[in-house]
Symmetry: C2
């Protein structure tokens, strides 16, 4: 109960800037149907221009724009109808001066034409003669063969998770597999003599089911990682070290949900020190101070506080940015947020990042207090407010940014 350690405490800002283990996940090819939110390891370029041919964007008539100059309701142009372009087929007829060809939206612009006049501004006054009542400029009603993407142009950049429309553009270019970083395998180890699996029907007095591992697995999946639940390790000396040695070679990130007591924390720090280099022990964050960060030969390890609420807050602030880095992602997706007014004063200590859970109703953010041993504080919250390191608190009525949970 004595022997509290005094490792170096760091701020969250220092951890984000300075704790940068070298490891990145390997690159693998995945089919388009499995590529959503995956992170391309290199830009993907177009082998050929898109759409690949000049296409009509309207139903109408392919023309030489010059033949429509000055056309009006009162003084239409009259053009000879030379034929029809069929969808999906090459035109069998060209447009010569004074002529036009009927076009569906999406059809190939025939040779000789430089514009498509919309059907709304035409009439077939006599069989074979099209009256045009409005002029069209060159390029009007047409997309160029390379207007979507030029040959060699970038379809998707490296480092930004793929979004739904990216999948469409890749499909359009005939790219059916994408080189992406593998999902980081995040091994989650729970510790503590009191912790029993969630499937335990009737925990004995003093035992608690493992809540943190399931919640962490959800956070990991949300950030594109692959959670691996490695079970519960007893507080017995040597047990954690031996488990860490086993899992490190198969992990891109290791998360130890440590015990909350000083004894359990010392045990964790000792085991981690034997397999890697401790970068900090103690983060200037509330809740979540008893956090440990270590570099195990390039593989990052996070020792989380034992309280589920603290553990999840710290993982959100420090673990998720690490996960994105491991995935080769330098442009993480935006997170939902809203502006709201604080319902009351919030105290904080200068030099410490405070994460305060809140509900939001009609533009008012109401802080949820309660011991960080309570998970229900987090499940009842709509989101959280950050009180940054330099601040010593926020006054009631202040407009704040609330990061919303999804």
């Amino acid at each position: 109960m004595s022997g509290r350690e005094f490792f170096s405490t760091r701020t969250v800002a220092e951890a984000l800037a300075g704790f940068r283990p070298a490891h990145r996940t390997p690159v693998e090819d995945v089919p388009l149907a499995a590529a959503l939110h995956r992170v391309p390891a290199a830009p993907v370029s177009a082998a050929a221009p898109l759409p690949g041919f000049a296409r009509s964007t309207v139903d109408g008539f392919a023309v030489r724009a010059a033949d429509t100059y000055g056309a009006s309701e009162g003084l239409p142009s009259y053009l000879d109808l030379l034929g029809t372009v069929r969808m999906g087929a090459e035109p069998t007829v060209a447009v010569r001066p004074g002529g036009c060809v009927a076009m569906p939206t999406g059809g190939v612009l025939p040779a000789g034409a430089d514009a498509v006049v919309m059907v709304e501004y035409t009439a077939e006054t006599m069989p074979g003669t099209i009256e045009v009542t409005r002029p069209v400029a060159p390029g009007g009603g047409v997309v160029r063969a390379d207007e979507d993407v030029a040959a060699g142009g970038t379809l998707v950049p490296a480092g930004r998770p793929l979004r739904a429309p990216d999948l469409g553009l890749l499909a359009a270019a005939g790219v059916t597999a994408v080189p992406v970083h593998a999902r980081p395998r995040v091994t989650i180890i729970s510790t503590g003599d009191e912790v029993v699996p969630p499937s335990t029907v009737s925990p004995a007095p003093g035992q608690v089911r493992d809540a943190t591992a399931s919640a962490l697995a959800g956070l990991v999946a949300d950030a594109g990682g692959e959670p691996v639940l490695a079970g519960i390790v007893d507080d017995e000396p040597g047990a954690l070290k031996s488990r860490l040695t086993e899992v490190l070679p198969e992990s891109d990130l290791v998360v130890v949900s440590a015990g909350s007591s000083v004894g359990a924390r010392d045990e964790t720090a000792g085991a981690v020190a034997s397999v890697g280099e401790i970068w900090c022990h103690g983060l200037a964050i509330k809740p979540g101070k008893p956090t440990l960060l270590a570099d195990c030969g390039g593989i990052p390890l996070i020792g989380l506080p034992g309280n589920p609420l603290s553990a999840l807050v710290v993982f959100g602030q420090v673990g998720i940015p690490l996960l994105w880095r491991l995935s080769g992602c330098d442009a993480p997706p935006p997170v939902p947020s809203t502006r709201a007014r604080l319902s009351r004063d919030l105290a904080s200590a200068s030099g410490r990042l405070d994460i305060v859970q809140v509900t939001v109703h009609e533009g008012v953010a109401e802080p949820l207090f309660g011991p960080s041993a309570l998970l229900s504080v987090l499940t009842r919250a709509d989101g959280y407010v950050r009180i940054p390191e330099p601040a010593t608190g926020l006054d009631g009525g202040t407009e704040v940014e609330v990061v919303l949970y999804r």
Copy 2:
């Protein structure tokens, strides 16, 4: 090329309020590890209180609070150390007046104690005697047996997608499977004689690879649905009707990516009318006007415009809310957004919803223009601005809400 149909056009607001096919997906039990973002079909309650026993939230000594009243550095209370609580085990000793028991964080509060004094405010001055230098109130340093959730209390509500901390609370309560609505199976049918599969190495002149289906599959997956790509149907009469008849019994939502030409749209409307009731043909939205909504015996069907950009915009505005409804979700997750100033004037027509793609840099939203035939407009955008139905445009410099893509 003639024969343009004049079905009823509706606004997006009317569609969201009025187009409500009755179908919901069935309920299935899924294990906790697969329950992230799934929608509970009923509230899940706690069978027993949580954490289930009064627990210490600090390292220290379990006491009767009254024994510490008035304690100070100058005038400490002295208590007899009666024993130690071990993690995960029932206390073997009770606290009597004038006594205390050593406690780890998370340990079971022994009988007779009503508070835990932090180790920081104690010292073992003599073996067996603990000096307490600060008073603790009843309940201090303790969470009650039902402080997280009372027996019968709600762990997670129905209708809101499960978030990571919900999985933790369910695990804590021993709930290892959750009754949720099945993921909606969304059948995506592409049509058009010019459309060929993305795997086509060298499309013939006039052919385009199917971009929309892959992008739609991404949007469906993002909203918790299960996309089923049902391939490309020729514009041949009867082909679409026959495909619809096949897929409807296996679908919760059917999406037809229709051709863009008037002829292709007529063909789609005819086929849909033979398998369901057309609710509207034409939405007051730009891009995306040629949209069709139909109710096929309770199963919603969306006929999307042929241009990929238009199709994706409409699916985002109308299809995704339908998907959430099918999933039994009445509280869809928040979407990321930011405030930005428009770089220029945007025109719109009153009575029509305009969705304008934008990039956002340093607080300025720059509209991206270009024909809706271009998918790259969407892949280059950071998000979009809505110009709602009543507005006739937005002035440059106006502060707008940009919905951000993720």
